[in-house]
Structure formats: structure tokens, C-alpha cells
């Protein structure tokens, strides 16, 4: 085991720095601000540091390691050229306060991304400011809130969220101060139109919908839901977490939405890095555009000396929407992620439609292969579809309830069994409306062979002796981690010996 705080080597063994500017005069600080004791940081030489983090990396699973069918997270391959591009000084070493004429290339990329996202979503204006999906949700909710305030409709205090929604939806709306009305979904997770009708009145500000929904099904009543919400003066919000399923086939604009967030890191690839970074731009219809957080980029034909800095015959400049809600992050969003996603979108262009088609093809194929292999092995009694449907979109759910009831095998057992087979487990126990739920999202960047192999291995796991499966995983760096112990015996930092 390699532990960072075990490296307590001698002073001076670490990374060396130039001391050219240091003067012989001692530095004087106000007496009560002088740090008396330096932090108990470890002391490592570069070879030790490199080995420590390499050791850690080998105890971690990523898309590069193997198949990562984590539903709802769109774990697709990240083209490596994106990383090379993100290190170009013209993005890595840019300060957000630099003047426009220093940033023409970056601003042209921002402009292209604003336009591309508007085209794909059917929205009128896009801001790249929010830095994650949840922040995009919050931003859009704030824009809608200001829209209603400006119209004097202050009685609109409620936001409708289906019970199958991602947790961020109610959390984001509550953060903006809205009351959450949770409506039950139909058995297949789809919107219950009658339940919706029953709760709408002029106190509704917004309805938040994920389409395809969190069970991977297309909400075919979405136009009806939009009509109902709009008929009482409310707004429709599209959670873009599952946008990967529909590009070039339909759009939130066509479905009647007024605002949408994009998880750029999911749909367009920015490595998820163990939990982040992401990027969560939002797009809105024109009536909401004046409330967006800025700055946004607009262009005009070049004039005068512009050509000295221009990257084409246009000048790209910042502008602030007239009644902007202000900032949601201090700088210009996760610009580095935007640039990576620009490189990704350029790889597809109008072929983004093909990307979504392959995402849906792979999901349906995997679902088919799982049933096929179950039939071959005679274990069709162990799981059922999370929702009855002929086709799924980019992800789908299975319920392991039969296995649980008949053999005592839980979705968690199966997840851990899959780790032993060398896979990342699908999302488990979400959405909550499916008992013993496993949610699979293979993405478009997996080959048919991988999907077939996974299906076979999945069935092998189901066929294991339940007692053996309760013990899984056994081949991983550690075995089942005791989360209750972690919560009861909180150890949130290294316990130094003198403490």
C-alpha cells in the first residue's frame, strides 16, 4: 500500500524551485499573521510522487480500462486529440479578464458552440457559462424565475418534477426557492398526463422533464405535457442528461420546451475525471434570452484595424443580456471543457445524428443480447425489463426483483459480480420507481463484440451460486467496502501521530 502521508522524507528532497528573485531582506508580515507552523504536508521526491500516483491510478477503473455501462452518465470514449488541444497555450494560459482582441480565436469557438447547441436543441440563444449539468438546471430555473417576476407573476412558486427525475432537478429548483410538486410516473416511468392535469394551475412556474426519461423511454406524450403546462402559463424545462439519444432526430424545441441544459461532458465528451469537470451550458427560447448569465459572444463584420487580430472576416465580442440574472460562476464557464467539446463536435458535424443513432442502436442491441443470452442459458426467470417497451433509447433498465425474490440475489450482488468480471457496474437502485433496478447505458463507442461479451458475462454472474455472489467482488483491490463503518467512524483526513 502506498500512502501519501507516509512520505515524510528530509527537508529539501522535494521539487526544487528557482530562487532568483528572493532577496536577502526578510519578509515582514503583521505579527499576528505570521504562520507559526507549516502544514503537515508530505515530503516526496519526483520519482516517489510519480510512483505513488501511478500506483493509485492502477487501483481505479475508467473507460480506458474497460466497458463502463453506467446508466445516466454517458461514459463514451474521449478522443485523445481533445486533450492535446486543451493544452495549447491559447486556451490553457488565457486569463478571462484579457481584452477581446487577445481572444478572437477562443471567442470564435464559443460562438460556434453557441450556434451548434442552438441548432441541435431548437433553442434561440445559448450561454456557455454554467459549469455542470446541475448548475445549468439552477441557471435555467433562475432565468424562468426572473421572467415571471418581470411579468408580475409572483404567485408562480411551484415546480413540477416527475418522481423518476434525477435528484438534481428538485435540488436545483429548491435552491432557487421553489416549492417542489412531485408527480408519480406511470409504471414505465413516463409522465402520467392525468396526474399532471390534476396539479396544474397558475401557481406553476415550471415543469422539469428528462426525455428520454430516466428509464430510457421516449416520452411520447411530451407535446401534450407541454401544452398542459403552457395552457396555465408555465414554462417547460428540458434536462439534457439524456440528450445523447436524440440529436438530429428530434429536439427540445420541437417538443415544446422553453429552456434546456446540456451536459457537454456527456453528450460531447469531456473526460469525467472521477467526478468532474463537466460543463452545463443552457439554451432558451427568445423570450428568456434577456435573463441569461453572460457574457455571451456575438459577431459582426470586421472594420478598421480589426483584421490585425481577427481569425476570419468577423469580429467576435462579448455582450451582456439586458436583464441578466448575473453570474453563476465568476469567470467564463468551463472554457477548457467547451474547447474539448468543440473538437468533439467537429469530428461529427452533421453526423451527430449518426452518433445518437449508434447510441440507441447499442442500447437496444445490448438489451436484446441480455435477453438472448438469458434464454440460451435458461435463466429468463431472474430479471424483467424495468419498463415494458418495444424499444429503448440510449439506455434501459432491468429489474432484478425476480432474482432477489427467488434466489436472494440483489442488484448490488450482481453489480459486484460484474466487477469481478472486469466491468464497471451499471447504475444500481436508480431510478427509484424500478425495484432492484440496474440501468445500462453502453454508449455509441462500444463494439458489438464488447456488448456480446458483456451480455454473456452478465448471465454468468446470474448463474453463480448466490452465496458466492454475496462474497463478490474478490478480485478487486479491496472487497466490499463498509459504508456504514465509514459513516459511523468518520475519518475524513489522515490521522497524524501527534493527534
Amino acid at each position: 500500500m502506498s500512502r501519501l502521508f507516509d512520505f515524510a522524507g528530509g527537508v529539501g528532497k522535494g521539487y526544487s524551485q528557482p530562487d532568483t528573485i528572493l532577496s536577502k531582506d526578510s519578509v515582514s508580515l503583521p505579527e499576528n499573521l505570521v504562520r507559526k507552523e507549516l502544514p503537515k504536508w508530505p515530503r516526496l521526491s519526483e520519482p516517489e510522487m510519480v510512483r505513488h500516483y501511478t500506483w493509485l491510478s492502477r487501483r481505479n477503473y475508467g473507460i480506458d480500462t474497460g466497458f463502463y455501462p453506467l446508466g445516466s452518465c454517458t461514459m463514451k470514449h474521449n478522443p485523445r486529440v481533445n486533450e492535446v488541444i486543451a493544452q495549447i497555450p491559447g486556451i490553457a494560459d488565457i486569463h478571462p479578464h484579457q481584452p477581446e482582441h487577445h481572444l478572437q480565436g477562443l471567442l470564435s469557438i464559443f460562438h460556434e458552440m453557441q450556434n451548434m447547441l442552438a441548432v441541435c436543441s431548437g433553442m434561440d440563444q445559448v450561454t456557455l457559462q454554467p459549469v455542470a449539468g446541475a448548475q445549468g438546471e439552477f441557471t435555467a430555473v433562475r432565468c424562468v424565475q426572473e421572467y415571471f417576476r418581470s411579468r408580475g407573476e409572483v404567485q408562480r412558486t411551484k415546480v413540477i418534477v416527475p418522481d423518476s427525475a434525477h435528484g438534481t432537478n428538485p435540488a436545483s429548483a429548491a435552491m432557487a426557492g421553489f416549492e417542489i410538486i412531485e408527480i408519480p410516473s406511470l409504471e414505465d416511468g413516463r409522465i402520467d398526463i392525468e396526474a399532471l392535469r390534476a396539479v396544474v394551475d397558475d401557481s406553476i412556474a415550471l415543469m422539469m422533464v428528462t426525455n428520454p426519461n430516466t428509464l430510457g423511454l421516449f416520452e411520447n406524450d411530451i407535446s401534450k405535457a407541454s401544452e398542459i403546462i403552457h395552457s396555465v402559463g408555465g414554462q417547460m424545462y428540458y434536462d439534457g442528461a439524456n440528450f445523447n439519444a436524440i440529436l438530429g432526430r428530434t429536439s427540445p424545441g420541437l417538443m415544446g420546451f422553453d429552456a434546456v441544459h446540456f451536459n457537454l461532458h456527456k453528450t460531447f465528451s469531456q473526460p469525467h475525471g472521477g467526478g468532474g469537470p463537466g460543463s452545463g451550458p443552457i439554451g432558451v427560447k427568445s423570450h428568456l434570452a434577456q435573463y441569461l448569465p453572460g457574457p455571451l459572444v456575438k459577431k459582426r463584420p470586421i472594420i478598421g484595424d480589426d483584421h490585425k487580430y481577427a481569425v476570419d472576416d468577423m469580429w467576435y465580442g462579448w455582450f451582456q443580456p439586458e436583464n441578466s440574472i448575473g453570474k453563476v460562476q465568476q469567470w467564463h464557464g468551463n472554457s477548457g471543457a467547451v474547447v474539448r467539446c468543440w473538437a468533439y463536435y467537429r469530428r461529427y458535424g452533421y453526423g451527430l445524428k449518426e452518433m445518437s443513432e449508434h447510441a440507441v442502436l447499442n442500447a437496444n442491441y445490448l438489451r436484446h443480447a441480455l435477453h438472448r443470452e438469458a434464454k440460451k442459458a435458461g435463466v429468463t426467470d431472474m430479471f424483467v425489463d424495468g419498463a415494458h417497451t418495444d424499444i429503448a433509447k440510449h439506455e434501459f433498465t432491468l429489474s432484478l426483483l425476480p432474482a432477489k425474490e427467488k434466489y436472494g440475489i440483489s442488484a448490488m450482488d450482481v453489480a459486484k459480480g460484474l466487477l469481478d468480471k472486469g466491468y464497471m457496474a451499471p447504475t444500481v437502485y436508480f431510478p427509484l420507481v424500478v425495484p432492484e433496478c440496474m440501468m445500462f447505458e453502453p454508449t455509441e463507442t462500444e463494439s458489438r463484440d464488447t456488448l456480446d461479451d458483456f451480455a454473456k458475462h452478465f448471465i454468468e454472474v446470474l448463474q453463480e451460486d448466490p452465496e458466492t455472489l454475496h462474497q463478490a467482488p474478490i478480485t478487486t483491490p479491496v472487497r466490499r467496502v463498509d459504508e456504514v463503518y465509514a459513516a459511523r467512524n468518520l475519518c475524513l483526513r489522515h490521522p497524524f501521530e501527534d493527534e
Partner: protein
Amino acid sequence: MVDQLPNRGLELEMLKEMGMSSMDDLFSDVPENIRMTEPLALPPPQSEEEIIADARRLLGANRAMTEVVSFLGAGLYKNYVPASVFQLVTRGEFLTSYTPYQPEVSQGMLQAMWEFQTLISELVGLPISNLSLYDGSTAAAEALTCSVRVHNRKSTQKNTVYVSELTPPDKISVMNNYCQGAGIEIRYLKHNSDGTLDLSSVQDAAGSCGVYVEQPNPLGLLDGGYPRIKEIIGQNTALIVGVQPVSLGLVEAPGNYGADIVVGEGQPFGSPITAGGPIYGIFACSKPYLRLMPGRIVGRSIDVDGKEAYCLTLSTREQHIRRHRATSNICTNETLIALMGAMHMSLLGPEGLHHLALRNITACNLAKQKLMEINTIAIPHILGTHFNEFIVELPASAADCLEYLDRVGIIGGFDASRWYANRTNWLLVTFTDQTSAEEIELLASHLAAWSTEVSQ
């Protein structure tokens, strides 16, 4: 041609196996009235070679701070990130993983984040750190709402927090957006003419839920009055200190002078500025805030064999479990950038941190000496101690001065009137560990030339 799809060419076979004959069959559940009938109005696909050529052309047209002489800071700082950090962070096992929902195959990132928590905890002098928020501004905003959750019940100024009036408006704007939903009112703390906090105005904050100040403050000043704040506001008001983390190699950790929550922009450790993101926000606190704090936390635990193991803990605060009652809506955060920070901090070690801080303050002191000699400009807070930036008062507008300097290839600093509207002649100049004595000479000579010219 799109080259990222392994099943290209196999579509028909795969469809046929499922009893379908075309891609359209897979989208038959999309009602006809909402189908997109035209192709996406976007350009054709490009190859990797074409994309990188375009990226180099466009990004190459930008003026990178590393390619010019720059004195621009104001919250984000020119730094040097060791080569090993970039090499290690692009290891696919880190880069292409996600939130460690399956701890058994995520021990690497979990342990690295637990170590990050320890590094930050030690740095700021508080026992608890999460594993990053989006940036310094959202960390500060979340600290305010957290302070209200913890203290509102006992407070005499309900739903009220106090923030230094010097706080950059963009940051205050973020705070307003985060606070308005909970009905939190933000009031402002005043400052003396020497740039330090007016401690008598801190009296007004007693009985409120929280107080937010920055050390060094936005004028670059280290404020020796802060150690007295906690005794003025008392135990039922949170003292929140925003830090420039490098300064803590010299300056007392806020946890040692009464801070309950410390936040800040982690960027100088491990991250290039990247136009402001992705970077990472630091959030650390003392025990009373633990169960109401935002963001993910890693705990050390054991596995079924009793072996040391790590996992996410206290998740019941978070949106995926608590939904609308969550302490924050944050899900995707900045883990990978925090990892870069941890790597950089590990390489520095305690003495390296001290050295890095010394390089900043020495460059700043040297610049102060040089600019003091120019009699057409003034340094309004000359008697104070600055860490790595200070205000210069010019004989004409900072905007004009920056334009002049730009023409000779220098990014001269930050026009402080963008923060303080009536301070049109205030220029905030920044000197980091990356600033050389020659660059300071260059700035001094150009400032002298310009200010003499405009003074005549």
C-alpha cells in the same frame, strides 16, 4: 467520415438480429409531429488532422499569458504546474473514470481525494474539507448558505449574512444567485481608507449567520485585523475566510484565527488558468458545519476483510438521496482538477509551499519599491502588507494605461474600475512566482513613460 463508431458497417446486421430493418425503426417511438425532418445545419465531419490544424490556427491567434509579459491576476494567478502533474493526470484510469459509486474499483481516486482533503485541511487549519466545488465564487456562495443553515435558528439577524464591500462584483453576483432562493439578505462590511476592514462595522454583523472576508483582500492586502473578527461576532456567527492558497505558505492558516469555513480558488495549485475553468473551489470547515456542508466527502473505512478502504460518505446530504432537501444541488464537480492540485501540493511539500509564497511576496515587494520611485503614480495602500498584488493610482484612467501597455506587448494588470466604478484610475498589478525582476523593471519603465506623458 465519422471515425469514432466501432459498429459502423454493422448497423444492418445488428438491426436485423433485433427484427428491425432501419435506424428509423429505433426512433419509431418519436411522434411524427416532433421529428426533425431536415439534416442538422452543421458542417461535415472532420478528421483529427483537420481539427487539430483548426484548433492551432484559432487558439494560436489568442494571446496566451505565457507568451507575453503579464501582470494580470485579480483572482486567478499565473503559476507553473510541474510536468509530472500533466503526465499523471492524463492516465486513463483517472481521466476517464466517474463518480466512485463502486468503491471497490475506484480506490485510486477515492484515496487520492481523501489525501486531497488532508492536504487542504492542513493548509487552512480546519479539520474537514470536501473534494472540491466549481470555483472560489461558488464555494464562497455555498459557504454563505451553509452558514445560514447552521446558525439561523439561534441568530438574532435571521437569514442575514455580511460580506466585505471589496468583494469583486462578479463574485457577489454569484452569491446573490445562490442566496436569493433561501431568502438570504447580503449586507456589506465597510473598510478603512488604508484598505483594511473597519472592525466597528463588523460589530453590526454580530448575531447574523455569517461573515465573509478575503485574506489577502481583493486589494492584495493582508489584513492584521482579521484575528479579532471571531471574538466580535461570537460563536453563533460563522467566520468565512476566502484565501489565495499559496499565501498560506507564509500567512497564518485562518482556522488558527477563528475561521469556521475557509474557501478559495484552488487554481494556483495544479491548474492552468484556462480562461477561468475548469478550475476548482476549496471548501473546508470545522465540525459543526459537517452535516450541512455542500459537496462530496471521502471517508476512510474498511472492507469485509478488515482491510483499509475508502468510500464516499455522508451522502445523505446530497441531491441523489436527499433530493429537494439536499444541502446543495452539486453533482458533477471538479475532482480531476483537485487531483492535479493534490499532485502539485505533494511535490511542493511544506518547505516548497513556503518557498513558493516567498517568491510571490518578494516579487510583489520588489515591484512596490520600483513603482514607488515613479513620482507620477501613487500606491494608495503603501503602508499595508501585500501578498502578490496591489493597487496603483494612475494620473489618468487605467483603461488608457492598459491600452498603452498592450501596444508594447504587456498585459498591464486589471482595471479596478470594473469592480469599483468610481476608481477609474486604479490599476491592480499582480506579481507571482512567475514574475521576474526584469519584467518588473520593464513595467516600471513603461509606467513611468506613460504616466509622465499623460501628466504633462
